[in-house]
């Protein structure tokens, strides 16, 4: 038997979890990442990770977690997949605890739990306000152990460019580029897992890291992988608007008692509490974001007439705030200059998370054999809207599925022959030629300015409120931006750490992905979860209780949109409301 040789692209929570599972099954991993995996975007997660620990006397059950997730996702998530995730969640927390994650504890030393949006029970395990950092570090440490044992080879500061298929159209390798030496190399594998995270940077400013560009997803989409539910982009209600990025103020602020308000008739108006008495400030993100948008844009009641409202913690004792939210309060003081323990913070919604992504089955297989996807880059688990603290869970959980499934591929006869030397050389040469063409671009456009325009466009038309006429316009503009991409001029002609040329390659992928988001939004004539169209204000289960599938058309560079049935057999769809308590199961 040959060695089980898996390539994992991405060292966030999902890629690292998959890597550990592969090593435990006797496999070997080549792990690719833009950055040292310890610096992956997962560390931005602040609030926590959901798991039914049931240690707060609330009779919480995994079924309730399952139901909250399906309901919160407006019934668009594959229910068998979600059920598996919710049932495994408590075991994952115990694993993280054994790995040494410094979770916040109760006085008796047990794991503490906090409230999060869209859930009535305390179900969110957390490490202060830096949960993602602590979870990522724990997996990073375990992977380092496997690295010492020689089972993991890290390719950090390498950019994934594309996959390579064999004669049977099975994915058996990748092409990647060293970000310092610029050398482009082709690699063989038995199977490939993409765990490359979300596409937030397509929107310019968002709450994500600068490396969350969706470029890898777009690359495999152009090679035949389908994208699912791409129109569902989560807008987080509470972020600090910024010109370089919007910095998130965790939902934990509301979970710990934070209140949202603005002035109306000279008096504070706690509008979420008035509009949604059952959940109040703890309504899910899509609901809160839309309410803030409505109050600012339609009613003109933002602070000083600007697009901002207050997120207020100043009524909560400072010592309590320090222990539960210290990290992010410090961040607010540092980047804004005000002390949120004393004065209310000023926030506005921002692009935050993509529910959609590469289409996968419940084993995380994409539509290309032996190519798997897990973590935020896949479309699974969250349907039309993700509940807070469910994505650290889905990222970690999906890695426990994709890793073993990749091992299964490596032991199967279905993967056919490994790539020949000629196939590797040809794939590499294509990428070398493409890169040389980019370096030689001498047009008028600046890639970073063009990206800025792309972000403005996507932010204006493809976020909180969507209107068909405007989406048509947006699609037209995206095509123009794609055409202008060819007229970019590259300033840096060198072959050493040329970030500019790499960015130009990423930008083209981002534009093509933006078209997928825009077109999918245009086609879905209903309102569901994060996707809201005033022209079609209701959910339309008859037509749209289906997964949106986008596949790339190489002729037009545009997506073809179709719809696919999915598994919603366990919980019957019911209306989703947060003004009254969630009704029966």
């Amino acid at each position: 038997m040959s060695k089980k040789n898996i390539i994992v692209v991405g060292g966030g929570l999902s890629g690292l979890m998959a890597t550990i599972k592969i090593c435990e099954a006797g496999g070997e991993v080549k792990l690719f990442s833009y950055c040292p995996v310890k610096r992956s975007h997962s560390l931005c997660a602040q609030g926590g990770i959901n798991a039914c620990m049931n240690t707060k006397g609330q009779n919480d059950t995994t079924w309730e977690h399952f139901d909250d997730t399906v309901y919160g996702g407006d019934f668009l998530a594959d229910q068998t997949a979600v059920k598996g995730m919710c049932e495994t969640a408590p075991k994952l927390i115990k694993m993280f605890d054994r790995m040494g994650v410094p979770f916040t504890r109760t006085a008796e030393g047990a794991l503490d739990l906090r409230n999060f949006g869209g859930q009535k029970n305390k179900r969110t395990v957390f490490a202060g306000s830096t949960t993602g950092q602590q979870l990522l570090y724990a997996l990073d440490e375990q992977v380092r152990k496997w690295e010492v044992k020689g089972k993991v080879n890290k390719y950090e500061f390498w950019e994934f460019i594309k996959i390579i298929k064999n004669d049977k159209k099975v994915c058996r390798g990748i092409v990647a580029q060293n970000m310092n030496s610029m050398e482009i190399e082709a690699f063989r594998a038995d199977a490939v897992i993409l765990a490359t995270g979300g596409p937030g940077v397509i929107f310019g400013r968002c709450t994500a890291s600068t490396i969350c560009n969706g470029s890898a997803v777009s690359a495999v989409y152009q090679q035949g992988a389908e994208i699912g539910n791409s129109e569902f982009i989560q807008i987080h209600p509470t972020a600090i608007p910024g010109s370089d990025k919007n910095r998130l103020m965790s939902e934990a602020c509301r979970g710990e008692g934070g209140r949202i308000w603005t002035y109306k008739d000279g008096k504070p108006w706690y509008f979420l509490e008035t509009m949604y008495p059952a959940y109040g400030n703890l309504v899910p993100r899509d609901i809160a974001a839309r309410a803030i948008y409505d109050v600012c844009v339609n009613q003109g009641l933002g602070i000083n007439g600007e697009n901002r409202v207050y997120l207020d913690l100043s009524h909560i004792p400072a010592e309590y705030l320090e222990r539960k939210l210290g990290g992010i309060l410090e961040m607010y003081s540092e980047f804004v200059g005000d002390d949120p323990r004393k004065v209310p913070m000023q926030i506005y919604p921002s692009v935050h998370y993509s529910m959609g992504g590469i289409w996968v089955d419940t084993k995380h297989n994409t539509s290309i054999p032996a190519l798997l996807a897990s973590g935020e880059c896949d479309y699974q688990y969250h349907g039309a809207n993700r509940l807070g603290a469910n994505s650290l869970l889905s990222a970690a959980y999906s890695g426990t599925i994709s890793g073993p499934e990749a091992i299964r591929w490596s032991e199967s006869d279905d993967i056919g022959d490994e790539l020949t030397d000629e196939q590797l050389a040809a794939a590499k040469q294509e990428c070398v030629d493409e890169f040389e063409n980019i370096i030689n671009m001498n047009g008028k456009e600046n890639a970073h300015k063009l990206h800025h325009e792309l972000g403005d466009l996507m932010n204006r038309y493809c976020t909180i409120v969507r209107v068909n006429k405007e989406l048509d316009f947006c699609m037209g503009e995206l095509k123009k931006i794609l055409a202008r991409w060819s007229d970019i001029g590259v300033n840096d002609k060198g072959h050493w750490a040329n970030q500019e040329a790499m960015f130009v390659r990423q930008l083209r992928n981002m534009i093509l992905y933006a078209m997928v988001i825009c077109k999918a939004a245009r086609m879905r004539d209903e309102s569901r979860g994060a996707h809201y169209k005033p022209e079609f204000p209701n959910r339309d289960d008859e037509k749209f209780l289906k997964t949106t599938i986008a596949s790339y058309d190489p002729e037009t560079h545009e997506p073809k949109i179709t719809y696919r049935e999915f598994d919603h057999s366990l919980i019957k769809p019911r209306p989703r409301r947060y003004d009254v308590a969630k009704g029966g199961k």
């Binding site: 435990e24 694993m95 600068t210 970073h448």
Partner: protein
């Protein structure tokens, strides 16, 4: 048109690891709450020097822009710090940017910190678990000890403390405050403790804790306010005790 307010940057650049450094100056349009990374992004959009010369965009490393990933550490007006969390309003102009030369320079402000990750291997910076499968429930932990662990676990391997430490550099093989103090973190854990001796022994070897000169620079620059010197002192005691024990156990 009225004069637009600008921010003046003097940036130490270097094209490759072996080439000679040089400086270039830039004027970036001012706006409130502008930070150093946002200013470098402006230079990407318009890579033209103060004197109107077209140049290549400045190369640096960044990811999160929230001071948690550790990527954008550089020397700003002589002090090692995170560029994303440095607001131009808070530092005097002209603002000097330079790479942290304790580490090999890759290009411009981008440096190679792989040595720090290697040191984490040396101190066995992980908890030895049997596997990711179900075993036992992890033990209850004293919440006060857990709070200390949480503090140290914020270390983002940014390298500020190595840049500031007079004992890290070609003259010494000290692995530096950050990786050393990580050993203390793992020794606090209920079963991380089981490998305490291994970690302490690794710190007795060359470049270990005896190379710390107690200059106290590290604690002043740590962007996460980790009480590095406190834990270094504690570790020093632990290492000495272990050394005695090693002698008696011979």
């Amino acid at each position: 048109m009225s004069e637009q307010k600008t921010v003046h940057f003097i940036i130490e650049r270097q094209d490759s690891p072996d080439s000679k450094p040089y400086t270039e100056e830039f004027l970036v349009p001012y706006r409130p709450a502008l930070n150093v990374v946002a200013a470098l992004m402006e230079i990407q959009k318009n890579p033209v020097t103060k004197d109107g010369k077209k140049t290549t965009p400045v190369v640096w490393e960044c990811n999160c822009l929230e001071k948690v990933c550790g990527a954008c550490m550089m020397v700003i007006n002589g002090k090692a710090r995170q560029a994303c969390a440095t607001l131009v309003d808070h530092v005097p102009q002209p603002i000097h940017l330079a790479p942290a030369r304790t580490f090999p320079v890759i290009r411009d402000l981008q440096i190679d910190r792989s040595v720090m990750f290697e040191s984490l291997k040396r101190i066995q910076g992980w908890i030895e678990i049997d596997g990711s499968w179900e075993v036992n429930t992890a033990p209850i932990q004293n919440p006060y000890t857990a709070a200390t662990a949480y503090e140290i676990a914020h270390c983002m391997t940014c390298g500020c403390c190595l840049e500031a430490c007079p004992n890290v550099g070609p003259q010494s093989d000290f692995i530096g405050p950050a990786p050393t103090v990580q050993a203390y973190l793992f020794n606090l854990h209920p079963f991380g403790k089981f490998d305490k001796e291994k970690r302490l022994n690794s710190l007795m070897e060359k470049g270990g804790i005896t190379s710390c000169g107690n200059s106290q620079n590290c604690v002043q620059v740590c962007p996460k306010n980790i009480k590095l010197t406190t834990y270094l002192a504690q570790l020093n005691r632990d290492v000495n005790k272990q050394a005695l024990k090693n002698i008696f156990d011979k």
